[in-house]
Amino acid sequence: MTDLKTSDSESADLETFRNDTRAWLEANCPPEMRKPATSDADVFWGGRNAKFSSEPQRIWFERMRDKGWTVPDWPREYGGGGLSAAEHKVLRAEMARIGARPPLSSFGIWMLGPALLKYGNEAQKKEHLPKIAAGEIRWCQGYSEPNAGSDLASLQTRAESDGDDFIINGQKIWTSYANYADWIFCLVRTDPTAKKHDGISFILFDMASKGVSTKPILLISGYSPFCETFFDNVRVPKSHVVGTINRGWDVAKYLLQHERAMISGMGERGVGRPLGQIAADSVGTDGQGRLDDAMLRGRIATFDVDEAALAACAERAVDLAKAGQAHPAFSSAMKYYGTELNKRRHEILMSAGGVDALEWESERSRQGARPRAWLRTKANSIEGGTSEVMLGIVAKRILDLPGA
């Protein structure tokens, strides 16, 4: 039976990588960047008009960019760090260990990049990926329309052929940060006669193109991170289509897997002070040092159990992908659970904060940071595909249930 024992041959190399990475992060990550982001200004999105909100933010971004670690697992030739999956996992763990913020956040990294790596042609990869990695171009996502939400494939924005170009007309909605974005990846109908999934193309264009306009929409959190986006005879070269014309649905779905994986990991998981201690600050403790609200304490503890378990599952999802054993629809499962959990977290924070968590406008409340964050999380189970849609995907694609 001894031969059943495992031996991990890579582990020595990985240990070296871990030690080097730890030392590098220790030396290069400014202390200010080792705290959780608490407002949108703490997040660096890049783009033509990007501004750093602080000097440490700039330093941290530039150092990570120079190592290719804004996109650690992308190939070096496209501005990435060229790390293996195992090294990437180590880097993530080491960043999490010191609470380091992501140096750059962007739809280009989370969504478009993976789709281009799989479906883009060489010219498109060379053109766009390095600019994403370097934070030069900020992207937005033109999927949803007023009449195409969950039923995304019923989208109606038209792209009509005109020589080497398409002429695009129509309207998108809920386009996050469309008013700040430089470019858009957009789903358009290129064949109105085909069945609904078959006539869609995935196309890229500059938001500064003639005929593009945006109108911000205010969210219940009081912020306005998304827009209505209008296209009035926007001219786009056909060479900007990613993948095959009329086969954009494949690209769209692949991108959604990445988007869902990203959204499932949102939230301040495992960083900062434990939820129970945050709650104890406002609720107080009993004689034995326990949170002085037994029901709330139980809710928090159950949350902590589920959060730790989900973290293990997220880790396993990455490992399964690396081992080639992942189900492509698994990101929908993670998206469902991760977003519902994040909503639970913010319900707990509101409950723990009590009256103090209700202030909307004051220095003391950092302009109502807590209630605004709470309200923002309600979108987690809507954006990127709703919870109900996620369960439908799991039922159909993973469980193979009939008629789903």
């Binding site: 434990p274 040092g289 589920d306 730790a308 396993r316």
Partner: protein, 379 residues
Amino acid sequence: MALVLTEEQSMLRDSARGLISDKAPVSHLRHLRDSKDPTGFSKDLWHSFAEMGFAGLLVPEEFGGSGLGFVEAGIIMEEIGRTLMPSPFLATSVVAASVLTRGGNAAQKSEYLSKIANGSLLATLAIDEGAKHRPLQTSLKAVRAGNGFKLSGAKALVIDGHVADLLIVAARTAGSAGEREGLTLFLVNPKAKGVAIERTIMVDAHNAARIEFANVEVTADSVLGEVDQAAGLLDGVLDIGRGAVAAEMVGLSDEVFGRTVEYLKSRKQFGKLIGEFQALQHRAAELYIDIEITRAATMKALQALDADVVKAAPAVAVAKARAGTTATRAVQEGVQMHGGMGMTDQFDIGFFMKRARVCEELFGDANYHTEQLARARGY
């Protein structure tokens, strides 16, 4: 370490699954129950377990065992969970073997571990006394008498208690119920004078016993580990048991779920397969997600135990808590979605429900472990 099985581990799973699904499908448990089998498990199968190296899976190689780890033990437990096979594996090969390996002196190890590995000795830990798992509440008394001790008190839910050749008894040598100090483990011969064993027929038709100790005399040699200092040893060993039971519950949940999904694909009502109804689809999808998350948490806990038993406590608490709620949900949905069929004894699904209930109580339920995590996190 990656949270996927290595090739060797997959092979181990396949061979365990082959043996267990072939020799001990659920009908095996049903037969043991219906025939009121006096042993409560199959000795032949236990023999096969020993031959395949499973009985001594955790026993170090120097004592004739396989010297494998807790991930591997979890693999066997998961397969056991799929068919609900009654087996001494948990009590003897996981818990008792771990107590002896981690706490035994050289003489105790060499006397017992090789016999565990070759399948000739059954051993079990007698810990619980009250209705709920509260290890520190141990109040069975051991008082010094001459060169040794005298044990008096009672234990409940002693797994395999009526067939064990060796009892490992948690007793209080000092302090009072609730305190960490003053716990001691004793190796007790079940045939010793004053030991009264009552086999308790449980809801899940698996082995358990209540044992009374009336001034049972034991020698000083029978102390396992340090007098008064067993709490630390128990923490680790119980966590090992918890990790193993969590793995059993993952196997159980997965099997019930698989059977339920098959039923959704075959049962017709209203002219449709019931699996077409979205109300059921969404519940099935949620349950699938719950099981996958619990599976990952359990692997994480078993790996943590392999890395360092002492540091694994929070991961184990998470796994056992999750396993309890997930298995409970899986069996409830399993029965519900089978409609009237799910309520019949003739149909296997009820066996899973009953075993899940017992597993939930074994070594602490979800509430207990959720509470442990809250304490560990300081709130």
